[in-house]
Every structure is written in structure tokens, then in C-alpha cells.
């Protein structure tokens, strides 16, 4: 048993840290490195962030775990994770969908044409994707999606609506699941398509969220997709979507950001006075902080179980569900504890100069809401743990 990373891994971490330090000196760094952005800090939703991704690419950090025949480095997946952990800790965009689920699905199932078209663009950080799974009536029950794709000659014509597509307003391509067969069990009639985001039949409408980040609904009005932009085989989409977890088993689950937040809270409590005494000296606050500090360390352990399973080439379905469930609920409790500890002044937003911790916590209290809902709600995670982990009947 050893909870440390290996020497090679530690060396890599140090390299990434040095790279980040360098990058922080460049213009636009405030936008690229923004730990106050909560979960949406993983996005490359600005020109500065895309430029940073291109520099990541130049430095050889994209596609590390891809095979060399696809321009990758054939490294173990842990390096993608270590990179993301460092990026997440400083609030920089993560390496995500492109080198993750989309690139790897293309490698595993895509045609030569799609590989040749997309893989180099992904490696060079020239392309951003949006994922189109959720729909108004397909949330926790994703397989019930209704976006319809009809075969018309060699083409497919897509009609319907997607919901909660986070990156739709800045992405270049849409990785979208649609129903290609309505006469089979709902899992068996789904296919995946690649659609240019600027397709004239697509209408992207903003959904603003309580956490100040934008998401979108996307309407499909006779969106014609050439047959060779159907990914892999027809009606195998559900399989590809489920496999994606496998491909991203290392990268999705970082623990650095919540530790950064905790440390920031400790600093705020030391630096904020009430009744002539720093909040860090109030016994009730100390007691609550101690409990949550232990829970944070427990969350880290659950995260370690994910990457430990992943590195043994297992698909850490239950481990990931446990970490997702525990860490997102913890994130919400941390925000609530922080506001209570900082008292009424913590209601002030970032924009107010009087806001303690620059309004970090009132924002976190709003933004962490999405964490227990998106990406599989807490209830869905508990079902996964109960059925797959504990073998309980459904």
C-alpha cells in the first residue's frame, strides 16, 4: 500500500506545475486560471482559454493516453488524471471530451474518415465539442431520448430538441445521440452523430443558471447529416455512450478544487473578525470545520479508489458513483457551512467591495447546486451503488 504517487508521476506533476506557473505570467491568465468558477471552470469557453489549450497541445499534454498511431504518446491514463488535477486545482480548463470520450470512441469505433478528420484537430486543440444527450423528458432516464433521426437516402435528418447542452454556444461540433429506431427497446434504437454546430437547422438558445454559468437548449429543424457522420454502427449509440465512462474513468474525478476551496475558507476564517475575535477562534466554527476536514479527506480516499481501480484496467462504475455522490454533496455542505460561519456579510456578492472572501461562498452556494443534479443526480448514483455495488434488486 502506498498513497504517494510514483517518482515518475511526481516528476510529471512537478513539470505540470512549472508549466502552469509559466502560463500564469502570460496575458489573459486571469481568465484562464480562475478557481472561483466552480465546476464550469473546466470549460474552454473563451478565446483565452482556447489559446491556453493550444499551448497545452504544443507542450504535448493532449492525447497522452492515445496510441502512437493516432498521434498520442501511449502513456497510462493516470497522466491524464494528474494533469487534470493540477489544472482543476487552479481553475484552468480541463482536457476533456475531445481527447476523452469523443476521441476515444472515434478511435475505437469511428470510420477512417472520421478519425482522419477529427483526431488531428483534437490533438491540436483546434476544435471544441458539445455533448448532446439530455432532453426535456430524458434526464435521469437518458435512454428515453426522443430526438429523431430519419434515414433519407444516404443522409440522416434530425428533428427534435436537446436540453442542458453546456457548451453549445461556443463549440464547433455537436456529438449528439438520436433515436434511429423506434420499434426496438429504447436502449437499442439510439445512434450517435457528429453535427457542425453552425448547421443552419440548429437553433441554440441560452438557459441561464442560478450558478451564473450558461447552458443551452438546442432545437433541430430538419438538420441533414451525411451518412458518414454517423459514428460507428447504427443503433449502437447507447453502447458508445455507456463506454464513454470507461474512457473517462481517470479524468473526470478531480479532488483538488474542493481542497483549494477548503483552504481558502480557512484563510477567510482567520482573517475575518466577529466581536473582536477572528472567526477561526470561535469554538463552534472550529468544531464544524474539523468534522468537514475529515470528510474532505474521506472524499479524497473515495477519489483514490476510482483511479486505483482505473489503473488496474477496471471500469470503476461503483467507485465513481460513490465519489460523485459523496464529493458533490460535500461541496454543497461546505458552501453552506462557509456562509453560516462567515455570517450575514457572506450574503454579499463578488460585485460588492464589502463581500468577505470576494463573495466566493454565496456564489459557491448557488453554483454547487448543479453538481448533485448534472452528470447523474445523487439519486441515480445511489441506485447505481445499490444495484451494481450492493447487488440489491430493482
Amino acid at each position: 500500500m502506498d498513497f504517494r504517487f510514483s517518482e515518475r508521476e511526481e516528476h510529471f506533476i512537478a513539470e505540470v506545475k512549472a508549466f502552469i506557473e509559466e502560463q500564469k505570467q502570460l496575458p489573459g491568465a486571469d481568465d484562464v486560471f480562475n478557481p472561483n468558477r466552480e465546476a464550469d471552470s473546466s470549460l474552454s469557453d473563451s478565446e483565452e482559454r482556447r489559446a491556453f489549450n493550444r499551448r497545452l497541445s504544443k507542450a504535448g499534454y493532449l492525447g497522452m493516453s492515445w496510441g502512437e498511431q493516432y498521434g498520442g504518446q501511449g502513456k497510462e491514463g493516470i497522466y491524464d488524471y494528474l494533469l487534470n488535477e493540477e489544472l482543476a486545482t487552479v481553475g484552468a480548463p480541463l482536457i476533456g471530451k475531445g481527447v476523452g470520450c469523443i476521441g476515444k470512441t472515434l478511435i475505437a469505433h469511428g470510420s477512417e474518415k472520421l478519425k482522419q478528420e477529427f483526431l488531428p484537430q483534437i490533438l491540436n486543440a483546434e476544435i471544441e465539442f458539445a455533448l448532446g444527450y439530455s432532453e426535456p423528458s430524458a434526464g435521469s432516464d437518458l435512454a428515453s431520448l426522443r430526438l429523431k433521426a430519419d434515414a433519407v437516402g444516404d443522409d440522416w435528418v434530425l428533428n427534435g430538441q436537446k436540453m442542458w447542452t453546456t457548451s453549445a454556444h461556443f463549440a464547433d461540433w455537436y456529438w449528439v445521440a438520436a433515436r434511429t429506431d423506434t420499434n426496438v427497446a429504447k436502449h437499442k434504437g439510439i445512434s450517435v452523430f457528429l453535427v457542425p454546430m453552425n448547421h443552419p437547422g440548429l437553433t441554440v438558445t441560452a438557459i441561464e443558471t442560478m450558478g451564473d454559468h450558461r447552458t443551452n437548449q438546442v432545437f433541430f429543424d430538419n438538420v441533414t447529416v451525411p451518412g458518414d457522420y454517423l459514428v460507428g454502427e447504427v443503433n449502437k449509440g447507447w453502447l458508445y455512450v455507456c463506454e464513454a465512462l470507461d474512457y473517462e474513468r481517470f479524468t473526470l474525478y478531480t479532488v483538488g478544487p474542493i481542497f483549494s476551496k477548503f483552504n481558502a475558507l480557512i484563510e477567510s476564517l482567520k482573517n475575518t473578525e466577529r466581536n473582536g475575535k477572528p472567526l477561526s477562534e470561535h469554538p463552534i466554527i472550529r468544531s464544524k470545520i474539523a468534522s468537514i476536514a475529515a470528510e474532505l479527506e474521506a472524499a479524497k480516499m473515495l477519489q483514490r479508489r476510482v483511479i486505483s481501480a482505473a489503473r488496474k484496467e477496471q471500469v470503476p462504475t461503483v467507485e465513481a458513483a460513490m465519489y460523485k455522490l459523496y464529493s458533490t454533496e460535500l461541496g454543497r455542505r461546505l458552501a453552506n457551512l462557509a456562509m453560516d460561519a462567515l455570517g450575514p456579510m457572506s450574503l454579499l456578492r463578488h460585485e460588492s467591495e464589502d463581500a468577505p472572501a470576494h463573495g466566493k461562498w454565496e456564489h459557491s452556494y448557488r453554483a454547487t447546486v448543479v453538481d448533485t443534479i448534472g452528470g447523474g443526480s445523487s439519486e441515480v448514483q445511489k441506485n447505481i451503488i445499490a444495484r451494481r455495488g450492493l447487488g440489491l434488486p430493482s
Partner: protein
């Protein structure tokens, strides 16, 4: 024992509900969050016309002279509809301060103006580094060149840009507590953007002159008067929390009946149903705890501890109800366009404003342990 409202109270609720509903759809609540004044002047005029502004003010000053229970009824509707208004600060707390410590002249001038809706008077008391007890209030009343002046900075003052005057909580060099009625002119206001997008300001007082007529001093125990006014205020806050919690839970409950996943309404899943059952239970407890505090205040029974408990518990329950309701709403829960987020933010606002849990627990414990 009778847990029912009187016919008059039911009528009052209906008229308050109608008024709040008329002016405050979730759309207009959103607009008011972004507006300059933070509340609707027309609504305010109508409130005054209906006698709501002077609800608790003595008849001698144009009020209806009704009790804390009637105030709770109105504030439950305010909370249900998320109605933003200076009613709590002006018509409950300031009215109680003026009634308790104002001179006849002050009452005639200001209480009447509160009842008629003509003037808005807001307590300015909170400070950045003081807790909720008075001992660390740093706003100072002091003598400078034979005149009395006041210096300090107040935080989180609601509707300050609509206020005609503030009742400023200050202390002198001997730690004596003072309530000073300071006209709003010439004070420095800074808008304070906040979580629930309520209308809040910092108010800076720099060498502001104070004369005898500014002082609320007809009561020797100013600190006690302040305390009782706040205690009345927190009963109203608790009632707002109960109204808000009930409403958001009803929304989540309705959503759980219609929203289908896996071929069934999500409310048929025990995970969702049991969240709702737990919260519904807590809400009923918080509701009657709040009514009991208000009733006790009116009936001359021991009420202070009940008021503290009601605010502590009802706002905690509202918060939990809002959290669960947002979760039940899924994506709609965090969308800005849907309504749950309005309640989610308001719940935390009510919990921390007007005495936060830390202070309320401190006070409750004081009484419990004697």
C-alpha cells in the same frame, strides 16, 4: 386549545394574499431583483390603503393596532410570494422601536407616516465586524465641539435608497446604547449586490449631527426596546420562511406528480417521496411554532424564547426545503428561468439576515441554561 385563525384573520390573509399575488408573479419578482428600488411602489401604496403598513401601529397613529399573529399571517403571504418590501424593517421593527421609545412628537410625526405609507423608516444596525449582540457595535455617538455627532458604517441596510430616515443603532463612549432617528439626506449609500438580489446598502455616517429630536429616548431601557423590536421582527421573518417553504414544497410536489422518468411520475419513487414527506413534516412544525410565538406575544405569555426558536427553526426548514425542492426539480432546479432558484436564494437570505443561526442559538441556550 384552538389552532384555527379567526374569521378576521382569515380575511386578512386572503386580502394580503390577493395583494401579494396581484403584484408579484415570479416574473415581477425577477424584475424587482434587478430594479433600482427593489420593491414596487404601487404595491406599497396599496398595502397602505389596505391598512397593512399600520398593521401593528396604535390606532392613535392611524394604525390597525393588530398583533404579532396578524403580522405573521401577512408575512407568511409575503414569504409565499417572495414579495420584496420594506414592510418588515419599516412597519414591524421601526414601528416597534418608535412605539417603544419614541416621544409623543416623534410618534405623531413618524408612526402616522408609517401607517399612511408616506414615509419609510429603516433600522440601520448591522456592522461588518459586530455580531448580533450590541456589545461590539462600533458606530459611535460622541461629543465633538459641544455638538453630538455620530460616526460609523452600517451594512446590509434594506431599501436604504427609498428610506426617508434611518433608526441608527449606536453606542456612546460609556457603552450606552442609543437609537437615533437620522433623516436619509446627506448619508453615503453604497449598493451591496447580494445573494438573493435584495435591495441592500451600506450606509456611512460621517460626523452626522444629532440633536435631541433625533433621539428615541422615552424608554430608559433602549437596549431592551431594541431587543423586543427585533424579536417581533424575527417572528415575521419566521413567518416569511414558513410561507416560502410551503410554496416551494408545493411546487416540488406538483412537479413530482407530473414529471415522468422511467415511465413513472418521479413522486412514485420513495427517494423523492420521502424527501417531500420529511420536509412537509418539518414545515408544519415550523409553521405552528411560528404561530405560537406570535400568539404568545399577543397573549402576554412568555414569547421571547419561542420567537428565537421560530426564526432559528423555520429558516433552517425553509433552507432544507429549498435545497430538496431544487434537487427534485433536476435541471429546472438550477435554471434561472424556473422559480425554484428564487426560493433557494431567498431561504439563505432569510436565514442569515435579522439575527443569524449562530446568534439565535446563543440566545436560546442562554435561556435554556438560565
Amino acid at each position: 386549545m384552538d389552532l384555527d385563525f379567526s374569521e378576521e384573520q382569515i380575511m386578512l390573509r386572503e386580502s394580503a394574499a390577493r395583494l401579494c399575488d396581484d403584484f408579484h408573479t415570479s416574473l415581477s419578482v425577477r424584475e424587482l431583483e434587478k430594479s433600482d428600488t427593489g420593491f414596487c411602489r404601487e404595491f406599497w401604496c396599496e398595502s397602505a390603503n389596505l391598512g397593512l403598513c399600520g398593521l401593528s401601529v396604535s390606532e392613535a397613529y392611524g394604525g390597525a393596532e393588530l398583533g404579532a399573529l396578524e403580522t405573521a399571517v401577512v408575512h407568511e403571504e409575503i414569504g409565499r410570494t417572495l414579495t420584496p418590501s420594506p414592510h418588515l424593517d419599516c412597519c414591524v421593527i421601526s414601528a416597534a422601536l418608535l412605539s417603544g421609545a419614541g416621544s409623543d412628537a416623534q410618534k405623531t410625526q413618524w408612526l402616522s407616516a408609517i401607517s399612511s405609507g408616506d414615509k419609510i423608516i429603516i433600522p440601520a444596525w448591522q456592522e461588518a465586524k459586530a455580531g448580533n449582540d450590541l456589545s461590539h457595535i462600533s458606530t459611535r455617538l460622541s461629543k465633538s465641539d459641544k455638538r453630538w455627532v455620530i460616526n460609523g458604517k452600517k451594512m446590509l441596510v434594506p431599501y436604504a435608497n427609498s428610506a426617508d430616515a434611518f433608526i441608527v443603532l449606536a453606542r456612546d463612549e460609556d457603552q450606552g446604547t442609543h437609537l437615533l432617528l437620522i433623516p436619509a439626506d446627506n448619508l453615503i449609500l453604497h449598493r451591496q449586490a447580494n445573494h438573493a438580489d435584495q435591495n441592500l446598502f451600506s450606509v456611512t455616517l460621517e460626523e452626522v449631527d444629532v440633536s435631541a429630536e433625533n433621539r428615541l429616548s422615552s424608554n430608559e431601557n433602549i437596549a431592551g426596546c431594541w431587543d423586543r423590536a427585533m424579536l417581533k421582527g424575527i417572528i415575521a421573518t419566521a413567518a416569511q420562511a414558513v410561507g416560502g417553504a410551503s410554496r416551494i414544497l408545493i411546487m416540488a410536489n406538483e412537479y413530482a406528480k407530473v414529471r415522468q422518468q422511467f415511465g413513472k411520475p418521479i413522486g412514485s419513487f420513495q427517494s423523492i417521496a420521502h424527501y417531500l414527506a420529511d420536509r412537509a413534516t418539518e414545515i408544519e412544525g415550523a409553521r405552528y411554532l411560528t404561530y405560537q410565538a406570535a400568539w404568545a406575544c399577543d397573549a402576554g405569555e412568555e414569547w421571547e424564547q419561542l420567537a428565537l426558536m421560530a426564526k432559528l427553526h423555520a429558516t433552517a426548514v425553509f433552507r432544507r426545503s429549498a435545497v430538496d425542492s431544487v434537487q427534485i426539480h433536476g435541471g429546472m432546479g438550477f435554471s434561472a428561468e424556473a422559480d425554484p432558484q428564487l426560493y433557494y436564494r431567498r431561504a439563505k437570505h432569510l436565514q442569515l439576515m435579522h439575527w443569524d443561526p449562530d446568534y439565535l442559538e446563543h440566545r436560546v441556550a442562554q435561556k435554556v441554561f438560565g
